[in-house]
């Protein structure tokens, strides 16, 4: 089992180059269940490899992280034409680590925009983040039949626009006006002195 994952890791290292190319034959052959195809219509196109673990088969896909909250990440699976599939939320446990550029990285250090590897269960509709180490457990999040609700907002929306004006130009204009007034008084004073 472990050797399967080691070989898969080597394959995964080459995935970015493969992503835009022809689909791997194993992805063409694998039998996705109807439930999985209903929830992931583009899974065959997005599939980059198929691995086995604990008696289950998983399609390997690349995805971009679109939202990260404390225990939930939302990803969009990348398609070969450069577009993305619908967003999918995945539950993550604190301390979970991902392989980012060859380094085991805690999930709370991952930022939006990060490309990550995910597993889609071939038989049961579920999705998981690929762990950093082959020995780490894979935690699947079931994907419901109905469309997922919009992800929870990252924060409560502000009730008003920010104040983006300063009084500096007004103060500056006031200052220049006072200087002009001062010059005017000086002129009047000098003219009065000259008339005398």
């Amino acid at each position: 089992m472990k050797s399967t994952l080691v070989v898969s890791s080597l394959v995964l290292a080459m995935l970015p180059a493969v992503a835009g190319a022809q689909q791997p034959a194993i992805c063409e052959r694998v039998e996705f269940s109807q439930d999985v195809l209903a929830r992931f219509p583009d899974i065959r196109k997005a599939c980059l490899d198929v691995i086995s673990k604990d008696g289950q088969e998983y399609a390997v896909v690349k995805a971009d992280l679109v939202r990260a909250t404390a225990r939930r990440m939302t990803i969009r699976v990348k398609l070969p034409d450069g577009t993305h599939a619908e967003p999918r939320a995945i539950n993550v446990k604190p301390g979970f680590r991902l392989n980012v550029d060859g380094r085991a990285t805690p999930v709370d250090e991952i930022a939006v925009g990060q490309e990550i590897t995910a597993y889609v269960n071939v038989n049961d509709p579920g999705i998981a983040l690929a762990p950093a180490e082959a020995s780490d457990p894979v935690e699947f999040t079931p994907v419901p039949a109905e469309p997922e609700p919009a992800p929870e907002p990252v924060a409560a929306a502000p009730a008003e626009m920010p104040k983006t004006a300063t009084q500096l130009p007004l103060l500056g204009a006031f200052g220049v006006a006072l200087l002009a007034l001062g010059a005017g008084f000086a002129f009047l004073r000098r003219r009065g002195t000259n008339n005398n």
């Binding site: 939202r67 920010p162 983006t164 001062g182 008084f185 004073r189």
Partner: protein, 203 residues
Amino acid sequence: MREPVARILQILQYACVGGGLLLVSVVTFARLDGEFGRQEAVSSFMSPEFAPDQALWSEERVRDFKASLALDAGEPQAVLRIPALGLEVPVYATASELHLNRGAGYIEGMGQPDTGGNVGIAGHRDGFFRVLKDVGPGQTIELQTRKRTHRYRVNSIEVVESSDVEPLGDTVDPTVTLVTCFPFYFVGNAPQRFIVRGTYVWG
């Protein structure tokens, strides 16, 4: 001219010149302080002091260090760049007057670039954000945080009333929304807001 009138004119002259010089000095100082503060904040954000050698640190210590940086409201949280406009400005934790005099500020209650959603950034239209008057669709907006550099592409520019908060609403995909006052040349509190929206550019 009679002596008392000349005396009054002299007092008025000195008062006006004194007051005028004071106000002009305050404005000049604020402008210089803002510009020097911007330069200092950008260079301090880029300096290696913010990324000390953590090879020997425990994971927990690295996490705490990063959290402490994020909580320090006195330090910039990110650097915002629009290369086409020559804009490079530090982004602080809030859109308070203090922060907006030194750079731009995250609008509280909106998303953050590293965690997603609609990231709101405010700036003074008579300061760092004045260059937004020349912004155009397709231009790149960069937001460099301590985790990564996020890139967005300008896809909409609009003017809304200051009571219209719809542009500040949450989004599923990561976006950035730059907010400043409109019109750009206006003495006093401008009645509208200039909104620049950018969509995420995936790596």
